[in-house]
């Protein structure tokens, strides 16, 4: 199975690419739709600001490609900002439309109430919406973000972390599209297990 990493000019692709390779999969990192089309599953990474990222996706036409992936029921994993882009909209530096695959809005943590960014290792709690991987030995994953998803559809929430009384969506899923707010590629054993689990799951689907 080939994994396509959508390179729209935002963020640290190297670590994601290396993590997927360490798990034994072939990787195509590209901003060219024709090249990406050779992949069976896709990762939408991202670090930076929401508006810049949406701008880059639109400029390159990769936003249409991402819709296409979702419509064709191909597996797609958004990581960090890549996950946030899949929500309806964001209040980061204004109001911006997202890709609208997940229900909900991206909002800034309240600086008055909590330390921002939410940075470091936090543990995930899984909701009944998902069968958690059996091989997980701990639930700690690495988060680093100042904005988070609110007003989600409850059935799309798979796992969350508690941050000073706030439920921070950690994993969301709708059909073939998954989002992870934390960085699985930087989250030690737990992160690598979740990434492996996603890859194995989609590998099973692409073969059947």
């Amino acid at each position: 199975m080939k994994v396509g990493i959508v390179d729209y000019g935002m963020g640290n692709l190297f670590s994601v690419e290396q993590a997927v390779k360490r798990l034994g999969y072939e990787v195509i990192v590209s901003s060219e739709i024709e090249q990406l089309k050779q992949a069976d599953a896709f990762i939408l990474p991202g670090v930076g600001a929401f508006a810049d990222a949406i701008g880059c996706l639109e400029k390159t036409g990769l936003n249409h490609f991402v819709y296409e992936i979702a419509e064709q029921q191909k597996p797609l994993l958004g990581i960090c900002l890549g996950m946030q882009l899949l929500f309806e909209d964001s209040e980061e530096n204004g109001f911006f439309k997202g890709l609208g695959i997940f229900k909900g809005t991206i909002r800034r943590f309240d600086d008055e109430k909590v330390r921002v960014p939410h940075m470091g290792w936090n543990n995930l709690t899984f909701t009944p919406n998902w069968q958690e991987p059996k091989e997980l030995v701990d639930y700690y994953v690495y988060f680093v973000h100042s904005y988070y998803g609110v007003d989600l559809a409850p059935e799309q929430l798979v796992a969350y972390a508690e941050y000073e009384g706030i439920r921070v969506p950690g994993i969301v899923q709708k059909g073939n599209v998954t989002g992870m707010q934390f960085h699985p590629e930087k989250s030690g054993t737990c992160g690598m297990t979740l990434l492996k689990n996603w890859l194995q799951q989609v590998e099973g689907e692409t073969q059947s």
């Binding site: 190297f14 993590a19 670090v47 330390r115 470091g120 701990d138 680093v144 972390a161 508690e162």
Partner: protein
Amino acid sequence: MLTKRIIPCLDVKDGRVVKGVQFVSLRDAGDPVELATFYNEQGADELVFLDISATHEGRETMEDVVRQTAATLSIPFTVGGGIRTLEDMKRMLRAGADKVSLNSAALQNPEIIEEGARYFGSQCIVVAIDAKWSEQDNTWMVFTHGGRNRLDVEAVAWAKQAVALGAGELLVTSMDSDGEKKGFDLELMKAIRKEVNVPIIASGGAGNAEHFYTVLENADADAALAASIFHYKETSVEEVKSYLKNKGVSIR
């Protein structure tokens, strides 16, 4: 619940770890990637690489170190030392670093913090502050060049300004405590904690596990960094973390 972080710091010169790291178990104790792997296995929550190369070639080597570390490990790490421009930041982040740490470049040109935060996001911009108490000023002042150069800048005010410009985290080193192994500078950490709302990494003065407890709990630092006590095996990341866990600190 968010956990407190324990961070070993590695000084790297021309691609090699310096400061006499002593690990008999390692094939090559000067190899940053091997040492990073060792600390990862010990449960380090993050790593900081401080590049102390003086030459252009040395700094280019650092990029390889970053790339190899990112290819081998899946924990976050920060790179500091010699990062002066947006281009420097971009090189390190593209090579797989999660954060870059700015020190003297930010003091010379504070706008670099703002630019970095705008292009890459606040979450990957760390501002490192080396502070030392000044009787004359009755406050902490900022120092550069390992504590040799005193600037006419108050440390707490600089911390506030750095955060206002977009720093997503502060790495605060007490030049009074550094190397003394008598504990972190709690008063300095508390003074900065009171003024900023971003995570703080406390550095300088770690001598034993209890020192970590005090700075994380009493001064509410988010993370604590140490170098020599880990390198010289006076304690280990594992030992410190289990001590903290027993004391009820939220630890991974």
